[in-house]
């Protein structure tokens, strides 16, 4: 990691006010993103990974969501930025692509127009230039016969092609950061493979950084250089991908890796993590993984569960991280 981070997140908290209380979806998340890297956020449902992503560019409606903390980008804090300023950042500097390509595109606008619209909002190109650039983008994302298909409508494209269109829209203004929230979860595995390859090559071609949110450790493993594992609204482990997969230091990460089928243990039965994730409405104080952890001790109960440095560029929110080999 060289130089200044492109994006710097500190103590990000997004809480939702609900009938049953305050839901602490993201509770103190901090990380840095550097130029040209792919940073993965992995977690199961309810871990807060998607909310984190959306909070970075203020996409959550402000009641019932409340966001505090610092998201330092381009010399200012994006949290609390007035909407007019935020809209200039979105699409132009930081773009986002979502999970479901079926519903993310406007069904009554041609794809070429939707790509051009992104440029219309953020650049001063004229109509002809925008159209030309849109076709060029469609080519870059691998849509065949781009010139002819620019006037086609979303329903005329398959799922994988629609996701490519979405990527083209996101990249239209050459953003510095691309936020990808489960971009391939709704796609078939061979198409997922194509889209992930595409994202990586575009990252290099456009010189941008990617934050990839996924529940699939395989996807993260193949695409990301650094990873943060989220659980219960917090980051519980963060390091480079290879270390995470070979030498995890948080019991949750270990449990997750062990419960995956195909990890060659030879036994018929898998080793799941017992229990279920905690409620985020009144989360337990201290370590949120305590109830399900096979390494827990009484000490863990009274410990404020901070992120500890457990190795070079390796953080883990666990008191007993040195004993992790016992359960690996």
């Amino acid at each position: 990691m060289t130089g200044e981070p492109l994006l710097s997140v500190r103590d990000l908290r997004t809480f939702f006010v609900t009938d049953r209380g305050v839901l602490r979806a993201v509770d103190g998340v901090s990380f840095d993103l550097y130029a040209g890297e792919t940073f993965g956020i992995v977690g199961e449902s309810g871990s807060g990974k998607s909310v984190t992503c959306r909070s970075l560019i203020g996409l959550l409606p402000s009641p019932p969501a409340h966001t505090t903390g610092t998201v330092r980008f381009g010399g200012r804090n994006l949290v609390g930025l007035p909407m007019s300023e935020m809209q200039k950042v979105r699409g132009a500097q930081i773009s986002m692509i979502f999970q479901d390509p079926m519903s993310s595109l406007n069904p009554v606008m041609s794809v070429g127009d939707q790509i051009a619209e992104a440029m219309e909002a953020h650049t001063s190109l004229n109509r002809a230039e925008r159209r030309k650039a849109a076709i060029e983008l469609m080519r870059s994302v691998g849509i065949p016969l781009a010139g002819r298909r620019a006037g086609a409508y979303p329903h005329e494209f398959s799922g994988g092609m629609r996701q490519r269109v979405l990527i083209a829209i996101a990249l239209a203004c050459r953003p510095k950061i691309l936020l990808a929230d489960e971009p391939t979860t709704a796609l078939d595995v061979t198409i997922q493979d194509q889209i992930l390859s595409l994202l990586l090559s575009l990252r290099d071609e456009f010189g941008m950084s990617i934050i990839l949110v996924s529940h699939d450790l395989g996807v993260i493993a193949e695409t990301c250089t650094r990873v943060a594992v989220m659980y219960g609204g917090q980051i519980v482990e963060m390091t480079d991908t290879e270390t995470l997969l070979t030498h995890p230091r948080h019991p949750y990460t270990v449990g997750l890796l062990r419960s995956l089928p195909g990890t060659e243990t030879g036994s018929r039965y898998l080793t799941p993590i017992p229990g279920a994730p905690p409620s985020l409405i009144d989360p337990p104080p201290g370590c949120r993984f305590y109830e399900r952890c096979s390494l827990r001790t009484d000490q863990c109960r009274d410990w404020p569960a901070e992120l500890l440095t457990v190795g070079q560029n390796h953080l883990a929110r666990c008191l007993r991280h040195e004993h992790v080999e016992e359960i690996a």
Binding site: F15, V17, R24, W303, P304
Partner: protein
């Protein structure tokens, strides 16, 4: 747990939670349901208790005391013109008729129309085509025209009004429930029921209907209002419940000429219709909120 564990987020929780005010507001979130139910309940109760509450016979004329204003001795809401009949009594007895039209008309059509819609949606194919073409035919005619035609044919009477409504109104429910059934039958729990060998009737009535019925129920609130207005419209046009039976619509029609001299004669029954309409509207809104599936 002896040691207090530091919680940096706690301050934020306290700040945004808003405390007791929020809790109080939460309980009354579905106030339309409550308001509508209470209002309707009061009206229905009053009309039901007409023999007790009305201190005059609704048909008795008092030609010596026509057009007495409200709060006249013995006549809380005055008397009508030119016959001097007590307005309050007529209002309450008329209410029975109008509420009966509203709910009696709706009650039958909801059930019949829903069942037809279920059949059409579940079986699809030819059954669906035939049933929906019939529905389309009914929809092609203006509702009031059709009802008027039937009443004119059979003669004005309460029963014939019912028959006219039953014959015509079921189509809305058929369409609504058919649409919902088309979606519901693809749900996995319906497939599971079929895979368990449940009969078609059981699948339709026990598995699909309870989950789609709320749409029909909510529509029926608006429909009931419509039927009451229909009864009143027919009464106003002289094709409704024959005189001298009091009915809100005919009371308005009779009193229309006295709008300036005895405003209470047409206005009070008009207000009654408005109140019932508002009550049903609120009830419909509240029900829609209540029955919306848990997100």
């Amino acid at each position: 747990m002896a040691v207090e564990v530091a919680d940096p987020g706690a301050a934020m929780v306290a700040r945004i939670a808003g405390g007791t005010a929020r809790r109080r507001r939460r309980r009354l979130r579905n106030w339309p349901l409550l308001a509508g139910a209470i209002l309707l309940g009061l009206v229905a109760l009053a009309c039901l208790a007409a023999p007790v509450l009305a201190n005059h016979d609704p048909l008795t004329q008092d030609l010596l005391n026509p057009a007495a204003p409200p709060f006249s001795p013995g006549h809380l809401l005055g008397t009508d013109a030119p016959y001097g009949r007590d307005v309050l009594s007529r209002l309450l007895y008329a209410g029975r008729i109008d509420l009966l039209i509203g709910f009696g008309g709706t009650g039958v059509t909801v059930i019949v129309g829903s069942f037809i819609g279920l059949l059409a949606g579940y079986y699809g194919g030819r059954i669906d085509s035939v049933l929906m073409r019939i529905v389309d035919v009914f929809f092609a005619f203006p509702f009031l025209v059709l009802v008027l035609a039937i009443v004119a044919m059979l003669g004005p009477s309460l029963l014939n009004i019912f028959i006219a409504i039953w014959a015509v109104s079921w189509v809305s429910y058929a369409r609504i429930i058919r649409g919902e059934t088309l979606v519901a039958k693809k749900q996995e729990y319906v497939l599971a029921a079929r895979a368990l060998g449940y009969s078609d009737l059981r699948v339709m009535l026990r598995h699909i209907l309870p989950n789609v019925f709320s749409a029909a129920l909510i529509f029926s609130m608006a429909d009931a209002v419509g039927n009451i207005l229909l009864g009143s419209a027919l009464g106003y046009l002289g094709a409704g419940v024959p005189p001298p039976t009091p009915e809100w619509g005919s009371m308005i029609a009779d009193g229309e000429t006295f709008m300036v001299t005895a405003w209470w004669v047409p206005t009070i029954p008009g207000l009654a219709i408005v109140i019932v309409g508002v009550a049903l509207s609120l009830l419909g809104d509240g029900l829609a909120d209540l029955l919306r599936p848990n997100a």
